[in-house]
């Protein structure tokens, strides 16, 4: 994207599990942890399965399809790095697999935000190192 050369917004620190999560995003794959004993998906990443107590898990590929669970529309920048974007809407997306994550929608006006809006993942290579998963209306 145009702003790749001078991306000044905060990027993930990519420590621990986050490094792995975002490394898959860089390959344009949305993957979440899934317990290989009871098949429960989870996000944010954790050491063990809260459902069955297993330490065994894999990075399982998500369909990338989901629905809009909630949102807020920031009308005032709380960090100077986002001042040029206001208003912008941090949204909560619920994926088909059941996990939920925070993201942005790329093609939905604030006035058109509604519960259960179908969305699908897109990948935004914001820097050479960092790719952020975002979502757009699903066809």
């Amino acid at each position: 994207m145009a702003e790749t050369q001078e991306y000044r917004r905060p990027v993930p620190k990519m420590r621990g599990f986050a490094a792995e999560f975002y490394a898959y995003c860089k390959q344009h794959e949305l993957r979440f942890q899934r317990c290989t004993d009871c098949n429960t998906w989870r996000h944010v990443p954790r050491d063990m399965c809260a459902k069955c107590g297993s330490f065994a898990w894999e990075w399982a590929k998500s369909s990338g399809k989901g629905t809009l669970f909630s949102w807020t529309t920031a009308m005032q920048p709380m960090l100077p790095q986002f001042a040029d974007l206001v208003p912008y809407s941090p949204v909560v997306v619920e994926l088909e697999e059941g996990v939920r994550m925070l993201s942005w929608l790329t093609d939905v006006e604030d006035a058109d935000l509604q519960l259960d809006l179908p969305v699908e993942v897109v990948f935004d290579d914001v820097t050479p190192e960092v790719t952020l998963p975002k979502f757009r209306r699903a066809g």
Partner: protein
């Protein structure tokens, strides 16, 4: 059955002035409030043998060294953000009830306007380190790795996810949020310590204010102020020799949402810490909600008050829009709410001012804003991503 019921009481309360620009350190503010609380109790500083400071840089070591507490028997800190003060009361009550400490000081204070404004959380240029490192430790990973890249770094945005979904599902009108703001501002007019005394707020003012983060407008948000408050907790036996009639901690409990460190992941987003704390505190106190004479509900944001009303069981899930209307929360209403003005209109000292106010009400010394014949009241705490606590207090 509940060994903690009425086994500890608040015998002293103190506050500094609530300002914007204290010119003092957080510690100096808290020491000042602590000395007021000790004087109010009729105790001397070295009578204190337990200290529960908030999760801020000032530690029990700093307090003990300043106050001259040579034999500190109990020191602990609760890490629940704005739910910490009420949970700290629980810890103080346990320490007193089982004899670990005799007189426990619980201070809370900061320069919430002058040096720690929320908008500076995670802002490198303000010396907070960036990357979400201004956030409480338990939340830093979630915020820094998964929220901050999307510009969601402060409470007004996180709690808005709960409010938006609740509004969309249940149609809660803006006026219900406005009722919380207008009520607290009205009560603040009767409180000389309230930062917003002399600045009334109408529903029209509320609805016409600018947006901060939808669905929150300016007056959905609490104040940012400098100041401190402190209380002293001791046993009913020792309270007999002190200056004031004790205010008993009849029921008290903490609760944590699940998972506590990530809001989007919660199976039911409206099951908050207070949802878990409520039955435990009410059962301990052996009282019913209808017995309450007033409620001091943690009011960082108006909608957070509404969510807590449902969690408390004051009304059913989704019905708070109907419940939070009219005169219900007035000083002579069915359940007087935030009688001092709350975080919204008195000051933001993490709700320790709610504890102080409940004590004044139950001692019948609240002056013009006194709830007639108040016998029983509740104080809630809310912090971090929805940690909760509840104290049932009686005279």
């Amino acid at each position: 059955m509940y060994p903690l019921k009425d086994q500890a009481c608040i015998v002293g309360v103190g506050e500094t002035a609530y300002t914007r620009g204290s010119g003092k350190t957080d510690l100096a503010l808290m020491l000042e409030a602590s000395m007021h609380a000790l004087s109010d109790a009729g105790l001397r500083p070295h009578d204190i043998d337990g200290i529960i400071p908030p999760p801020l840089p000032s530690t029990s070591e700093h307090f003990a060294a300043n106050l001259g507490v040579e034999d500190l028997r109990y020191a602990v800190t609760v890490h629940m953000g704005g739910a910490s003060p009420v949970t700290s009361l629980q810890s103080a009550a346990m320490a007193v009830a089982c004899g670990v400490a005799k007189n426990v000081l619980v201070p809370l204070g900061w320069n919430g306007y002058s040096t720690m404004r929320v908008r500076d959380m995670g802002n490198k240029s303000k010396g907070n380190g960036g990357g979400g490192s201004g956030a409480p430790g338990a939340l830093a990973n979630t915020i820094g790795e998964y929220y901050l890249p999307y510009g969601a770094n402060v409470p007004v945005q996180w709690y808005a996810w709960l409010a938006t979904r609740h509004k969309e599902l249940y149609g809660t009108p803006d006026e219900a949020m406005g009722t919380v703001a207008v009520t607290s501002r009205k009560h603040a007019q009767l409180n000389d310590k309230a930062y917003m005394q002399g600045r009334p707020l109408s529903m029209e003012d509320y609805l016409n204010a600018r947006w901060v983060s939808k669905p929150f407008r300016l007056f959905d948000c609490c104040l940012e102020t400098d100041g401190a408050a402190a209380v002293v907790v001791t046993s009913p036996e020792r309270a007999r020799d002190l200056k004031h009639d004790p205010v008993y901690i009849s029921g008290i409990a903490e609760g944590h949402p699940y998972p506590a460190d990530d809001i989007p992941a919660r199976p039911d987003p409206f099951t908050i810490g207070l949802s878990f704390a409520t039955p435990n505190a009410l059962q301990m106190a052996e009282v019913d909600l209808k017995d309450l004479d007033f409620a001091e509900i943690y009011d960082c944001f108006t909608y957070v008050v509404l969510l807590q009303m449902e969690a408390l069981g004051l009304c059913k899930r989704g019905e708070v829009g109907e419940y939070a209307q009219g005169n219900r929360f007035a000083l002579d209403g069915e359940l007087p709410l935030n009688t001092h003005g709350g975080l919204h209109s008195e000051a933001h000292v993490w709700g320790m001012n709610h504890v102080v106010e409940a004590t004044h009400q139950l001692r019948h010394e609240a002056g013009e804003r006194q709830v007639k014949d108040a016998q029983l009241g509740l104080v809630t705490g809310w912090g971090d991503f929805g940690d909760g606590s509840l104290a049932i207090m009686r005279r």
